[in-house]
Symmetry: C2
């Protein structure tokens, strides 16, 4: 393949064979669409990704944004690529036709933006944050704000940011200190300091629209007192033209291990008296609004992680096919030619692990994206409700699983390259550095684990957890009868039984001793994630088997590869987190009881 | 503590309570030494590490060596620090008195150099490579070469390199193309290209002594045809003065993800007709000679990895004590003050994991170092033989285990820091980047796995493998009777039984189908490593319990921390690699059978 962003056979397999997204064309909203229009959007993204985004990825890593003469200077390739992306219309891929959007299903829009992430995650971030901020205004803002701020964002004229974290408050958003005071004209005057604001200042767009969390004077304490504001870099007049510079100051740039092309900033709001801000929706609803959006933002993080893992895998695969080193154990003649790396079992193990992680992760992200389409646009309200619930349940998984295991895939891609992989002359080390951000932002692993075990599993008396189990059991039932997959189904079925047992024990304990029940929540999430991905692998195997037996669209070797990767995942990876079943079931107190002074 | 390189309580515990290195003062070679002289050397290393090496660690990461006007330009702090180290005499810590050395036990010398690694692994590398190259000449070189090359290296006047890898041959050293032709004066003329040569060119020392692998004209094919040569940058006259520039050219610098302070080079030998080289030892013995040294070099890699993990852990620990974020699950008042990170169970999990990895890894490295002292200087030839065998057996473990799990510790140190950990304003991201080299150089994980399962375990009909099992069983026996540790002993004993079963199955299969038996060698090594480190943790727990009960030298909280970390390791970490027992026992063919075209 000429691009090393994604295996297009795999993508088509997941979208059309596994997830059957053509069914969405039956939803009234997507009635004008067809597989052809989906594919056209995806091919466009691939072309832009490979030709416009990928070529400057290493360049921007080596030349990160810098502050000069009061401005953030970014390599010109970034603005040029974003202009190309803007012109494709993909920044409004899922928006309504009447707003200038393409009205594509969320799963197709995510696929397109995922491809851009795989090509160049840092340049993509400017667009990705804009789409996220725009969606937030579209979900909760007034019609006036939609027109004044969101529509120029869809058109790629304004870019967006998310201003949540403050120097003293990251995971603990309840403790933010930014304040908003009502002004006479109905707007607000905002003061406060924000940190780690990606794309917080630059000259790439006409304007920057900050979506900012702050507290009103009458705010109740804690998370219930947070409100959401639009704070533009330049004020926007009623006719849409730009007005004065708002009171938002760049306080400094942050230098990161990776993701270096995306400028990360400290911003001071209201140093000169107060930045003009506009309340989004009702007062004190900021965190709920933000979390409403978080489901999509967290799929975005997971998908970014998958795509970094995926491109690393394709680079490692090419290298392993080309590079010759050593001989097979059977070959005794030292003068015989060396064999390609891929002929060594241990290299194949590393490639299979990468394949299992990135293709499994992609299946997870795309499946979760289909839930967003279903929850928004399915006819049947019960289907919508279940999709919404499953989406909520899976959000911590889709955020954390890829950011752990596709990072591991990036490490394996380096390992396949040997010493070369450790050098900046090859791209895999950058993917690894870039990907290391993903376990941190949009909620750390620890936060996700608490969310899953402390909230999501128990939602509505476990209704959506049970719905997920039901879906997994249905797959087990259908595979159990196909003898080719019976052994794999058994592996997953045993793991599922363990997960259920552990879940029951912890949910029971949660009522009497939540602190202890949640002490190992991160490890619980690892088990849960592996069972979910194991399920999606078994579904992939089932689909591949059908493709093999019925002569599917893709080559035989492709389907065989899917079967092998499923086997690998269930045998080599699934057992590891499940090995801690006893720790979880017994609500092991080791971490809880360790006194701070004993470290 | 003022330095964050190592916990000196832990170091003293390991050296004196666990490993009882004072016993070495009874060896004639170390008769002049005492705990005081050991401690003096260690304190000196700590002072030099903290005051001279650590302060420029981030600086050299941000300002890597560059090529200008025909020279490699390195920050001046590097030469200054190495001069201080040279003046301490620590570069000859384990050498004979009559050569100007301190004649310290290997375990003390390794401890000292380990501390310098923890302070600044990149600057240390210039010294570390010099010590390794010097040891190689001391082991196999003629008296003439010892005086002409090795003694100036001990004195820190000449630095050394190891020139093994060529652009087309890394793991597969059998395939090197460098050639050596005998000259009339008894020396050789060397031609060839080498890559990834750390410290390959610089202006830090009077001269650079390259230890280089090349082939003689009559060399048999493969590894049996490799010879070892000394190739100095400047020729050295008989009186020790420097002569002409030798025919060794810098062909380029390599830019790495981490370890940036250590210049990595491509070197061309003999572009102008042939570099002058001197054969070390007998012809065609180069690989054996190199491997003779590899045991110490690989402990060096493992120790470097441990020390990077260790300093990361201490930074994370300090941050977790200082930084406040969120509240306990019991606290319902959002206006209550935030609690230190270390109060959160998930943060304690990450700190316990780091503690278990780095203190367990340090125990592993120091234990293995004591084997070197025993194998060289113990009175009893049987003790020497067993120590040599155990040292051989454990070499792949001591190289690979820390470079996997102490790298994981570095990742956890970042995670404890949250967003701050991902920035270059904090040191933990550098430790992570630096440490990522360790799974690659001096033999990748894949190579180590083959070495362990394909060679070391079976050496002398499994004699040293059995000796190791015997030592583990002895610890299990003594802990089994102490009820406080009976549960932990049971966990290790079960793991040991699994390892034995797996080993027996694979050793049996190795005779009939070595390719299949070795296909999962890497995973076997993970199990083996965890059992060995689990054993050393149980020994630490046993020693700590004694310290608690008999009022040992260290604070009570310290001993309690050791008991908790042992519990953590055996319960939370040991089960994971062992969960693949079935894959190993059944010699699972998944990786072996995957056809290359199915990826």
């Amino acid at each position: 393949m000429s691009q090393k962003i994604i295996n297009t056979d795999d993508l088509a397999f997941l979208l059309y064979e596994l997830l059957d997204i053509e069914r969405f064309t039956q939803f009234p909203r997507y009635a004008d669409h067809s597989r052809d229009t989906f594919d056209a959007a995806i091919e466009l993204a691939l072309k832009v990704g490979a030709e416009t985004f990928a070529p400057h990825n290493a360049l921007c890593d080596a030349n990160e944004p810098r502050f000069e003469d009061g401005k953030v200077i970014i390599r010109p390739e970034v603005a040029a690529a974003l202009a190309v992306l803007r012109d494709t219309g993909l920044m409004a891929a899922s928006q309504d036709y009447e707003r200038g959007g393409m009205q594509l299903p969320s799963v197709v829009a995510q696929t397109c933006i995922g491809i851009i992430k795989g090509a160049n995650v840092s340049t993509q971030a400017y667009a990705g944050l804009t789409i996220a901020a725009c969606n937030l205004i579209m979900a909760h803002g007034s019609e006036e704000y939609k027109q004044r701020f969101a529509e120029p964002m869809m058109a790629g004229r304004f870019f967006g940011t998310m201003c949540l974290t403050e120097p003293h408050a990251g995971s603990s958003l309840a403790d933010i200190k930014s304040r908003a005071i009502p002004a006479e004209d109905g707007s607000y005057r905002i003061t406060g300091n924000k940190i780690f604001i990606s794309a917080g200042d630059h000259e790439l767009s006409e304007n920057i629209v900050h979506l900012m969390l702050a507290k009103l004077p009458d705010a109740p304490p804690g998370v219930k007192g947070i409100s959401l504001f639009i704070v533009p870099k330049f004020l926007v007049n009623e006719d849409g033209s730009l007005g004065e510079r708002n009171d938002v100051q760049l306080a400094g740039l942050i230098h990161k291990m990776g993701y270096r092309g995306t400028t990360s900033t400290m911003l001071n709001f209201g140093e000169k008296g107060g930045a003009v801000g506009y309340l989004v929706g009702e007062p004190h609803q900021g965190l709920a609004q933000m979390f409403h959006m978080m489901n999509e933002a967290r799929i975005g993080v997971g998908l970014g992680s998958v795509m970094l893992g995926y491109t690393g895998y394709l680079h490692a695969l090419e290298y392993a096919r080309d590079r010759r080193q050593g001989r097979s154990l059977k070959e005794r003649d030292p003068a015989s030619p060396m064999i390609p790396l891929i002929e060594h079992a241990d290299v194949r193990r590393m490639l299979l692990a990468q394949k299992a992680f990135v293709e499994g992760g992609l299946a997870l992200c795309l499946f979760t994206s289909t839930l967003i389409d279903e929850k928004k646009h399915a006819d049947d309200p019960l289907v919508r409700e279940e999709a919404a619930g499953l989406n909520d349940l899976l959000t911590p998984i889709v955020k954390s699983w890829p950011s752990q295991f596709c990072l591991e895939a990036n490490s394996l891609a380096i390992q396949v390259h040997g010493g070369y992989g450790y050098t900046r002359e090859y791209p895999v080390e950058q993917f690894y550095r870039d990907n290391r951000l993903n376990p941190i932002h949009e909620g750390t692993h620890g936060i996700q684990g608490q969310d899953l075990l402390g909230r999501k599993v128990a939602m509505q008396d476990g209704r959506f957890y049970q719905a997920l189990l039901g879906r997994i059991r249905a797959t087990l039932d259908s595979c159990g009868s196909a003898t080719e997959l019976a052994a794999q189904a058994k592996l997953l079925s045993d793991a599922l039984a363990t997960l259920e047992e552990v879940t029951d024990a912890l949910q029971a304990l949660r009522k009497s001793d939540p602190e202890r029940a949640l002490a190992n929540a991160y490890l619980y999430m690892e088990c849960f994630g592996h069972v979910v991905v194991g399920w999606l692998w078994l579904r992939q195997a089932e689909t591949a088997l059908k493709g093999l037996q019925q002569g599917g669209e893709r080559p035989k070797a492709f389907y065989q590869g899917k079967l092998a990767a499923c086997e690998y995942f269930l045998r080599y990876e699934l057992p590891k987190p499940l090995a801690l079943a006893a720790v979880l079931r017994d609500a092991d107190r080791t971490t809880l009881d360790m006194p701070a002074e004993c470290f």
